[in-house]
Amino acid sequence: MTESKKRYLQVPQGTEGVHLEEAYRHRHITQQLFELFRLWGYLPVETPVFDFYDIYEPLLHHSTKNVYRLIDREGDLLMLRSDITLFLAKQMGLWLRDEDLPARICYADTILRHQHAEDISRNEFFQVGVELMGKAGSDADLEILLLMETSFLRLGITPSIHLGSHKFLTSALEGCTENQLNQAMKYIFAREMDLLQELFATLFPVRRADALVSLFSFIGTGEEFEEKLKGYEDVLEAREKTDLEYLVYLVRQMKTLGFAENLCIDLSEIGAQPYYTGIVFQVYLPGLDDAVASGGRYDKLLDVFGFDCPSVGFSLLQRKIEDQIDAKFGRPDKISKVEHSSFLESFKAAQKMREEGVVTIL
């Protein structure tokens, strides 16, 4: 093999090409999701591939190391699109007006993030999602949760949804230092509950510390969660109870509508991104190594870009789930070939068949 050929075979970590049948399937799935979003009243937006790095840096938190940066010809530091929600927030912050609200927005686009060499199966290349901007409250939260579950069901997948609350985290740790909050989040993310217990023992009375550790460890059904809450009536503040009862309310509403088949309340879901302010959720599927969709409420994010408006949304990593999706999204089964005596005749016959919806090649 020549040296130049060898070079062509290499691609940088975190990039990929999709070809032929796989690309067909990929686009077909995106189209199905977009058709669903259209029926729910969501309009598409396109975000820039790169933007100025400095405006996003405070919002990137721990993910700065995964962002690709470059310098433009004027010497400004740019970043490639690593999270569509962030880029979208800036765009919407600039262009939305009060009379546009509520705005229902959907997107499907490539994202570029560095991937650890050990981590190449993550497939975090393509985000599809929706944002409901300018609508606060439970109706909006429910709309997004229901649309997310419907999106998976449309693809033939029953999602395991884990619903948590970033708001409960901030309520419970109100008055703590930023350092203590970060420490608590780190332990909850890693489920290091012994260390969380040690930290809370320094911050709260014993019973409250025990209750909070037990709650942040909790994963279970809405009914199990309600049962658990009864044991902590006396140690939780009114605001915390409201935050937690709100989760129970959402689950009940979804059940009433025939959804939430596989939904559990999971208070260790606190939101990986620092911009979340309310509910947060992730979707897990058997056979996949990490969450395939995530989302939540972020009421202050657009304000960073000059437009104060509540928002809630979700995004799914489409490339991660494509192998699990029903075969009906694959290449069309039947491809007809026409071979007449001349090209002109073949073409005319093929056109007729195409008008009837038959995939035809010459």
Partner: protein, 217 residues
């Protein structure tokens, strides 16, 4: 990633080497008995709760990260080097060791002005440790027998795990400083845990409950 259903056993990766016997004893004391047939690398425990893979210590995080094994047992040293996200569900009281800075006897601490060579199997840990202390170093990555480096003149200092210190002593080396205590953890692939939390919590309860009972007796 390994498929799961309520009837299939949970998958657990165990490291070959120093920890394996201790894990096997610890589990068998809690009625989770397993043994590997000669040269086999996959075994089931007698209750059918666990399917166990025997993997190279440094590769264990990779198997768990990809979800090939949903659970794993390994030391903080390996987890630190892998730098991947796992749930740390339980810390064991066996297998404790120390990450140490060592050198030939009488060599003294590296100074913070001149860069010195440090040989190690743990480059990420060593780099971050000396960086945090403001000490310039040149790292030399080795894959084993790190004690040889000072003796043969490859590097005056080493960063390595020290259990009893007898290997260092035999090679006329001494610990200059303990950089970090190393514990052994039960780790989980986050997605695997979320999908199997009831059964995994049951295993953890079994291990903890029996441990407590053992302490009381």
């Amino acid at each position: 990633m390994s498929q799961h259903n309520e009837n299939s056993p949970l998958t657990l990766a165990l490291p070959k080497g120093r920890l394996f016997d201790q894990v096997q004893d610890y589990f068998s004391q809690r009625d989770l008995v397993f043994k590997f047939e000669k040269r086999k690398l996959i075994a089931n425990d007698e209750t059918g709760l666990l399917k166990i893979f025997l993997v190279k210590n440094a590769d264990l995080p990779t198997y768990v990260n990809h979800g090939i094994a949903g659970l794993g047992i390994c030391g903080e040293d390996v987890l630190y080097e892998a730098n991947l996200r796992f749930f740390r569900l339980m810390q064991f009281d066996f297998g404790k060791t120390r990450m140490c800075l060592a050198a030939k006897k009488g060599y003294g601490q590296p100074d913070s002005i001149r860069s010195v060579n440090v040989a190690t199997k743990f480059p990420r840990f060593a780099r971050n440790y000396f960086y945090s202390k403001g000490v310039p170093i040149q790292l030399i990555k080795l894959n084993g027998s790190v004690e040889l480096a000072p003796i043969l003149g490859l590097a005056p200092y080493i960063v390595d795990l020290v259990e009893t210190g007898s290997t260092l002593k035999a090679n006329k080396l001494e610990v200059l400083e303990t950089l970090r205590d190393i514990d052994v953890h039960l780790i989980a692939n986050p997605s695997y845990y979320k999908l199997n939390y009831r059964r995994i919590n049951h295993i953890i309860d079994t291990l903890n409950k029996n441990e407590h009972e053992e302490n009381q007796s």
